[in-house]
Structures are given as C-alpha cells and as structure tokens.
C-alpha cells in the first residue's frame, strides 16, 4: 500500500542560510499514529510546515496521499488537516463561523451536519455561538482541532497538540485521536511529552538537528533501546563491588546497601542468573530485588544526546 506521506531527500535552507532539514526520507503509513520527537529547534515544525504548504521546500520531493505537494498542491492539501502549535485563532468570529470558514476554504461544500458532529465530538457544541475570544485556552485549542477536521481530512497533523493543556483535556484529546485513527485517519503528531508518544504512537521518528536519526515501531524501539535495571538490596553493607562481579556492569550505591546491574532488555537474561549465582558463591545475602524497564523518555534523552 502506498504511504500516506512520502518524503524523499527533503532539504530546507532558509533565506538566512540556516539549514533546517537535511536530506529527510520518511514514509508514513495509512491509518497509523506517527509521533515525531525531537528537541526544540530540531526541525519538527519546519517539516510539518513544508508538507502542509506553509513553507517552501528547497529540494526533494513530498507526496501526500500520492499527490505531489507542489505540482498537485490542490489535491494534496485537500487531504490534509493541520493543527499548528501556536494558538492562532480569530477573535471576533463565532466558533460555528470559524469552523465553517475552514471547510469552505478547503473547497468543500457546506455540510452543517458534519460541523455539528465535529463540534459535539470536541465538546464545543454549547459554545458554537460564542466568539472565539471569549473562550479559554483549552477551548481555543479545541476550536483549532475542529477547524482542521472541518473538511474531513485523510491526514491530520497535530503540532504539539497538548502543549499548555491541562491533564483532563489531554486525556480527552488522546481519546479523540484514537477515535480518529479508528475511523481511518492517519495522524502525525509532534510532542515534547514522551508519555504522549508512548501512550499513543504506533511508530516513532526522532529528529535531531534537521536529520531523522531513527524511525521505529514503538514497541520494537522500546525493546531494542530499552535498558533494564536490576537492583539488589543487600543485607549487609559493602565497601566496594567484589572483584568477582566486575565482569558484569555492576555498580554499588552510595550507601553501600544496593547493587545496581544494568543490562539490555533484548540480551539473553543469562547475566542475571550469573550475577545471582556469583553472589551466592560469595555469600553475599540480599533481602529484596527489583527490576525496572527504562521509559521512552530515557531512551529519547539517550538518543538526542548521543
């Protein structure tokens, strides 16, 4: 099946000479939730802006739903909905007018039933006759999502959708994104919140200094790069790690009561057994043990600081 978004050899150099994107290659599959992670200034928003037509590309080729975003820009853009990062809304328009405006702008005939559905799904129905300026920040964010969904896009871009949004609204949005995916919409989101990507994404791409450094299935990424940690609580204090244990990457905690053993989760678990056997041989007793898997956040921090 052809990808919904296909980016080939995409580069972007801004007028001041700053190269924001370097030879990006990326395919996004139909119906998936793709999370684009990266530190500030890595090029996430530039990439999205190019695909959506807000920024011109310098070189390379981008297709949305099979249409070239330059040559076939009408067809390409019709398939895309964008929720930008900044809360850019009209002030004096009513919610209903603003959302209807977006639908018209994207070349779709009026369809009040669809607008009604979108507003109801986003809990905006009661506010439909309110001016946007009278809404709270979270409500404005919903309005922007409603505008992006007004023309029934096949592909939805969410640029930092939950930045500055309270926990409840964030949960609501996750729920909404899942529903959209169920209805077949492809979703690309950028986020700073790793838990968001961990919670929702099917695949994860990491961008650093304008380059895609990794694209992986989320679960594979977590097993592949995830570290596991085994902590042993000792019955008696140790002054240093016994020489017999130095084969393994074992550390001693500061108070001398904990041995910490770090290992790759995909590795054979033989190391753990070996460690425990050696401890037994040395007569070192432990009262408790626990293992912990690293979160996507730790993986991510590890990646971007490499």
């Amino acid at each position: 099946m052809q990808p919904d978004i296909s980016v080939k050899h995409l580069s972007k150099v801004y007028g001041d000479g700053f190269q924001a994107l370097k030879n990006i290659n990326l395919d996004i599959r139909r119906g998936e939730i793709f999370a684009l992670l990266g530190p500030n200034g890595a090029g996430k928003t530039t990439l999205i802006s190019i695909i959506c037509g807000i920024v011109n590309l310098s070189s390379g080729e981008v297709k949305a739903a099979g249409y070239d975003i330059v040559k076939d820009y009408r067809k390409a853009r019709e398939t895309i909905g964008l929720v930008p990062q900044e809360l850019n809304t009209d002030s004096f328009e009513t919610v209903w007018d603003a959302v209807s405006f977006s639908r018209g702008l994207f070349g779709k005939p009026p369809k009040p039933s669809h607008i009604e559905k979108v507003l109801k799904d986003l809990s905006l129905w009661d506010k439909r006759n309110n001016r946007i300026m009278s809404l709270s920040g979270g409500m404005k964010r919903r309005v922007m999502i409603a505008k992006a969904l007004s023309h029934e896009p096949q592909i939805l871009f969410l640029d930092e959708p939950t930045a500055g949004v309270d926990v409840e609204l964030r949960r609501d949005m996750w729920e909404m994104v899942r529903k959209l995916r169920e209805s077949g919409v492809t979703i690309i989101l950028t986020t700073h919140y790793i838990e968001e990507a961990e919670e929702m994404a099917d695949r994860i791409g990491v961008i650093r200094q304008g380059e895609i450094i990794l694209v992986e299935d989320k679960t594979q990424l977590m097993t592949k790069l995830g570290k596991k940690e085994l902590r042993l609580h000792l019955a008696q204090k140790l002054d240093k790690v016994p020489g017999e244990l130095t084969l393994e990457p074992v550390e001693l905690s500061e108070d001398g009561y904990e041995l910490i053993y770090t290992f790759d989760s995909q590795q054979e678990q033989a190391g753990v057994a070996r460690l425990l056997r050696t401890l037994g041989d040395l007569g070192i007793e432990y009262r408790d043990l626990q293992t912990r898997e690293s979160s996507l956040e730790e993986i991510f921090v590890g990646l971007v600081h490499e």
């Binding site: 807000i54 011109n56 809304t89 007018d97 018209g104 994207f106």
Partner: protein, 253 residues
C-alpha cells in the same frame, strides 16, 4: 477553481465589514459630509463656478475618490495584514487555494465595500449639494475600476507591512496629499504652468479627472488618458501581486 474557498474568504471579509460598520462605513460618510457642508454649502456659495459647474458640485467626484482610495487601501491592507499579525494566515497558506483565488476573495470583498461606500456617499451628497451624473455607466465603471485597483494596492501594502504603523503610512502620508493636490478642490488649469506639469505625475489627477468627466463631461485630461492610466496602475498592482506570490515575499519562507 476553488469557488467555495473564494466564497469563504469573501464572506469572512464582508462579515468583518458588518462588525466594523462604524469605522469602515459611517466614519468616512460623516467626514465626507463635513466637506460637503463646509466647502459645498457654506464656503461654496461664495466661490465662483469652475468650468460652469457650481463649486459644491465640482468637488463631489474628488471627495468620493478620496474616500474610495483611503477605504480601498485600508480595507484590503487590514484584510490581509490581520491574519498575518494574528497568525491565522497559516490556514490560507495550507489550503487548496491558488493565489488568484486568495486575491479574488480578499480584494473582491475590499472592492465591494468601497463601491458600496462610494454609492452611500453619493446618495448622501444629494442632501447637501445638487448634482447630476451625465454618464452613469462610466461613473459606475470608474467607481468599480478604482475600487479594484486600490484594493489590489492595499493588498500589497498589507503584505509588505510588518507593523501597524506601516499600514497607516501609505494612506496618510502618500495618498491623502496626492488626492488633495490631484484636483479635488480645483481644476489643474488654475495652477501656474510649472505646477500643471508637476501635477501630471500625480496618478490621482487622472482618476479624479476621469471621474469628474463621468459626472459633468468636463475634465483636465482626456478621458481616454484617464482610463489608460488607471489600467496601467491596475496592471502594475497585478504584476506586484504576481511577484509576491511567486517569490513568497513575506508570506512563505
């Protein structure tokens, strides 16, 4: 052609006019009426006729032009500047609309407002001054042509401006003096010869002269030259807009 897109922009802009009716309709109508009262009724009765036209009636075409130019420029420049300022321009840039459609929506709405305003001013003028329109077709044509041309010009200013001050500079510092010195209140023939020649470099002279011809059949320059010069300016604005969208100037980096 994305007709729904054009309609959406047009409707949005017309709604803005309804919201700001005090500023965009009432205030120019009132200020023009003040001119009619002062120069038409009060002082005008003591002034001699120009080209056999009563002074009060003589200044009507120029005064309508003044409002038309100012409002076309300010309407169109605000229309495109505000989305740039508030950031909502992202939506227009990411929408499946060509630049011709964007211009049709914004400039079409701004020009519509100006034409409506021009007609309101003409209707109100009847209360203060007695005048006739000799060539109604040409009068309307000039009204529409000027509104479209200066709305295009305003659109360019709105894209060029990166602050509210720049939005005001062109109408206040350039257009107002050009209109006042363009024969609104006098015939170019009344000036010393040197200034007559200088005046011919003022594009507004051609607009006012042509517009006045449509009213009274008299003009400072030939009507064909008036129409020609207006079309030249219209073409220049279109080329400017074409260049803006081709290069993405201040719109797409």
């Amino acid at each position: 052609m994305n007709l729904y897109g054009i309609r959406a922009i047009y409707k949005f802009e017309m709604a803005r006019m309804r919201r700001t009716v005090m500023q965009s309709v009432l205030s120019p109508v009132i200020s023009t009426c003040l001119y009619f009262v002062v120069f038409g009724s009060a002082i005008g009765s003591r002034m001699g006729d120009i080209d056999n036209i009563a002074y009060g009636a003589y200044i009507i075409p120029g005064l309508v032009m003044l409002s038309l130019l100012m409002q076309s420029i300010s309407n169109a420049s605000f229309g495109i500047y505000m989305p740039k300022f508030s950031g909502t321009i992202y939506e227009v840039l990411s929408a499946p609309v060509s630049y011709v459609e964007v211009v049709l929506g914004y400039v079409g709405a701004a020009a519509t407002k100006s034409v409506i305003l021009g007609l309101i001013i003409l209707a109100t003028a009847k209360f203060f001054v007695d005048y006739d329109v000799l060539h109604p077709f040409w009068m309307l044509s000039f009204l529409v042509l000027t509104s479209v041309t200066f709305s295009l010009f305003g659109f360019i200013i709105g894209i060029w401006a990166d602050g509210f001050e720049k939005l005001q500079i062109v109408p206040m510092m350039i257009v107002t003096p050009l209109v006042f010195l363009g024969g609104t209140f006098y015939s170019i023939d009344m000036l010393p010869e040197v200034w007559q020649t200088v005046s011919l470099f003022n594009p507004v002279v051609y607009l006012i002269s042509g517009f006045r011809w449509a009213f009274y059949g008299v003009s400072d320059v030939h009507i064909a030259i008036s129409v020609g010069m207006t079309l030249v300016f219209l073409t220049a604005c279109m080329v400017g807009i074409w260049w803006i969208f081709k290069t993405g100037y201040r719109l797409r980096s």
